[in-house]
């Protein structure tokens, strides 16, 4: 499975954020999307997810059925500030999600299985999502994306504000998900990216650049990434 991006361009007023972006993402990999503040990571995600109109660009998904235009239903988007319907309890939200997806998926498990995956306590499952902490909401967001099973999962800095234990849990979850999915994960934290991701893509100078890892040790690889980031003239 491949996600192809052709000639993507996006400006805000006179400020060009993305220009002539051509890139291909493949399944079975977690891509770490690194970029300096304001480099355009969220803009890139929003463009893929049709949350913003782009000035130019075409997106295609190539899978066993052929190459088709990317549909928003192919994408699961976990935003940095988790948004969940606050009038539902965690269990109700999950049940709703299982209900609406059961026609599309035969391999859905029962809800306790999913709660166990993210280690959400029994008592927390039955309180309103409004009362959930940031981390708990994040877990729920990732869970519903697992249930909906979209082909592409975009994660906009999902682990940045989580505690270390939750971060580790989430990393395991994401690694388990990468088979048959294209996961693109944006972050500011270099260690997180090199630790979790199979490929590092840097947004710099309004474009995406894959940083190959070939034969580099961890230190040299990091230096190379930082060098690529420094080349960004967006400031």
């Amino acid at each position: 499975m491949k996600l192809e991006i052709h000639d993507l361009e996006k400006s805000y007023g006179k400020k060009e954020v993305l220009k002539d972006v051509n890139f291909t993402f493949e399944d079975g990999k977690i891509y770490g999307l690194l970029g300096r503040n304001g480099a355009g990571k969220t803009t890139f995600f929003n463009a893929l997810n049709s949350d913003i109109t782009v000035d130019n660009g075409r997106f295609y998904l190539e899978d066993e059925f052929g190459k088709n235009k990317l549909k928003t239903t192919d994408i699961g988007y976990v935003v940095s500030t988790p948004t969940v319907p606050e009038f539902l309890t965690g269990r109700e939200f999950l049940k709703f999600y299982v209900d609406i997806n059961k026609d599309k998926r035969e391999d859905l498990k029962d809800m306790d299985y999913y709660f166990d995956l993210v280690k959400l306590n029994r008592e927390d499952q039955d309180i309103l999502l409004k009362e959930y902490s940031h981390g708990m909401k994040n877990k729920i967001q990732i869970l519903v994306n697992m249930i909906a099973n979209p082909k592409i999962i975009l994660l906009d800095e999902p682990l940045t504000s989580l505690d270390i234990v939750v971060q580790e849990d989430m990393k395991k979850l994401l690694k388990g998900l990468k088979e048959n999915h294209i996961i693109i994960f944006s972050t500011h934290i270099l260690e997180l990216a090199t630790d979790l991701c199979d490929e590092i893509v840097v947004i710099s100078n309004k474009n995406l650049e894959l940083i190959p890892k070939s034969n580099l040790n961890s230190k040299k690889y990091k230096d190379k990434i930082i060098q690529a980031l420094k080349e960004d003239n967006n400031d």
């Binding site: 994408i75 988007y77 969940v84 606050e86 009038f87 609406i100």
Partner: protein, 525 residues
């Protein structure tokens, strides 16, 4: 203190100027002309700043002017024989009301937040500077308005009354600020966020303003006595405020409550608080949800969790309506003149119910709850934006919203039927039945209308602010048209038939529109 005042005014001005330029840069034609370099230009900033100062002075003066004008206008229209007394009566009570609701020291704003929290200014100096500035500007405006309206127009006998009025307002404001801070220190919240305190005081004082209508008025001398009392109490209140040392702490606590730096304003927070899930709705009777799944379940839980603001309030309305109709029925059966006039009213002024149904309909608050507590989050999920899902959920919601609103409509319809039946004038069964149907139709009409405009003109952005004027405009037009129709005098048969035909046409058309257009319009901006 002067230094603090100058600094806050400077921050205030810079903030206003930059915000104004930012808004300009987002406008259709100007956005292509304005670049970020404009923020560097001192000349442009000076010009905008100067215009800003002029505008804010003009705005404050206009509001103050209107305040006096409206009071005098009401006095002139309602109590033409005792304008001066009625004016003093109203002005006194409204100032007391202002003492409760118009506090400057406890309100939160971004500008205040910048000064106290971000720039870490001396909070006590800030408090004093702001208090001083507020009192001074207010006093000057009051003096001008009192001179214009009270002395010049009313030809008040002595200047002493005007001085008392100005100083009383000053004193009352100081007492108000002091009481609000005392209350906050003791109970850790601002009293007017508690509805059980707020409504009785506001309704009581506003209601008391109209006592002259019943020939009841606070005696002039008593009024003067109270005014002098407040004027004197202003002195200890002033001292109390000057002695406040923990303003920074108070302000920090306030900002934690309202989350100032979020781009929403306080009003948006209050709106959100209004549709919050209430404690007693958190637990749902599981038997209600047992057989439901998917979107049915989702919709059912939404309405169960908002029972307090939707169903229970419709029930409360219904109880009040029953009581009103009970009183009307009693009047009709015991007094012949009421029997005739109420019967006639229902027959030829049935159109009045258009505005009544407009106010009774819960559509506006239901859509607010839908957005704040549900759609705001759900619209970020791609499946929820699928056209089929939008239309399917719309249908389910429409059914539930219509049901909620039908309860008070039925009570009104049946009430009207009973009143027409006990009227001495025998109205035809057709007339009675069509007027019943008219009320039901109105209820369905408003239910559809609110939901349709919400789906077609979804007015909120991701930050939950109302960003599209078209929604507010349509709501305002709905009110104006409803008000206008309410004045129509037409026999109930003709009106009902016209109303029913129009409603059915409108409902059909708007449903068609929602099915066709809402997948494109129902999204976050």
């Amino acid at each position: 203190m002067i230094n603090a005042l100058v600094k806050t005014l400077q921050i205030d001005l810079d903030y206003s100027v930059n915000s104004f330029i930012y808004i300009l840069s987002k406008l259709p034609v100007l956005r292509d002309l304005i670049t970020n370099d404009i923020y560097k230009s001192k000349t442009i900033k000076r010009i905008v700043g100067f215009l800003g100062i002029l505008f804010s002075i003009a705005r404050a003066a206009f509001l103050k002017f209107m305040y006096f004008f409206v009071i005098l206008f009401i006095c002139y229209k309602l109590f033409p024989n005792q304008i001066i007394q009625a004016f003093f009566h109203m002005y006194f009570l409204l100032t007391i009301l202002g003492l409760f609701i118009n506090n400057k020291l406890l309100n939160t704003s971004k500008k205040k937040y910048f000064s106290i929290i971000i720039f870490n200014m001396d909070a006590t100096a800030f408090l004093r500077a702001n208090l001083f500035w507020n009192l001074l500007t207010n006093m000057i405006m009051n003096m001008i308005c009192i001179y214009l309206f009270v002395d010049y127009l009313l030809l008040s006998p002595t200047i002493i009354y005007s001085i008392i009025l100005v100083l009383f307002t000053l004193g009352a404001r100081l007492v108000g600020e002091m009481l609000n801070i005392m209350f906050f220190r003791k109970y850790h919240y601002i009293w007017y966020t508690n509805n059980s305190l707020y409504f009785p005081i506001v309704v009581g004082l506003v209601g008391a303003c109209f006592l002259p209508y019943l020939n009841l008025m606070i005696p002039f001398k008593v009024l003067l006595g109270f005014m002098v009392l407040f004027l004197l109490l202003g002195i200890p209140a002033f001292i109390y405020i000057l002695k406040i040392e923990d303003y920074k702490l108070i302000y920090k606590r306030l900002t934690q409550m309202t989350n100032v730096m979020d781009s929403k304003n306080e009003k948006d927070y209050l709106k959100q608080a209004m549709v919050d899930v209430k404690e007693k709705d958190k637990k749902i009777d599981s038997s209600i949800l047992e057989k439901k799944e998917g979107y049915d379940l989702f919709n059912a839980i939404f309405f169960e969790r908002h029972k307090e603001i939707l169903l229970r309030s419709a029930r409360k309305y219904s109880v009040i309506i029953v009581i009103v109709y009970g009183i009307l029925a009693y009047m009709m059966t015991h007094y012949a003149n009421y029997n005739q006039s109420i019967g006639e009213f229902l027959h030829v002024k049935l159109a009045t119910f258009v505005i009544i149904m407009f106010f009774i309909n819960r559509g506006s608050i239901i859509t607010q709850a839908m957005f704040f507590n549900c759609d705001h989050a759900m619209l970020r999920y791609n499946f929820y934006r699928d056209p089929n899902v939008i239309v399917e959920l719309f249908k389910k919601r429409l059914l539930t919203v219509t049901k909620v609103n039908l309860l008070p409509a039925f009570v009104i319809g049946i009430g009207n039927t009973i009143l027409l039946l006990i009227s001495n004038h025998s109205y035809s069964m057709i007339s009675i039945m069509t007027s019943f149907l008219f009320i039901i139709c109105l209820s369905v009409f408003f239910s559809v209308h609110y939901l349709v405009i919400y789906y077609l003109l979804q007015p909120f952005n991701k930050e939950m602010e109302v960003k599209r004027a078209s929604y507010s405009f349509v709501t305002l037009c709905t009110y104006i048209i409803s008000y206008w129709i309410s004045g129509i005098i037409l026999s109930s048969e003709v009106l009902s038939i016209l109303g029913i035909v129009f409603s059915l046409f409108y409902i059909g058309l708007s449903l068609l529109l929602v099915y066709k257009v809402s997948p494109r319009t129902f999204k976050l901006y």
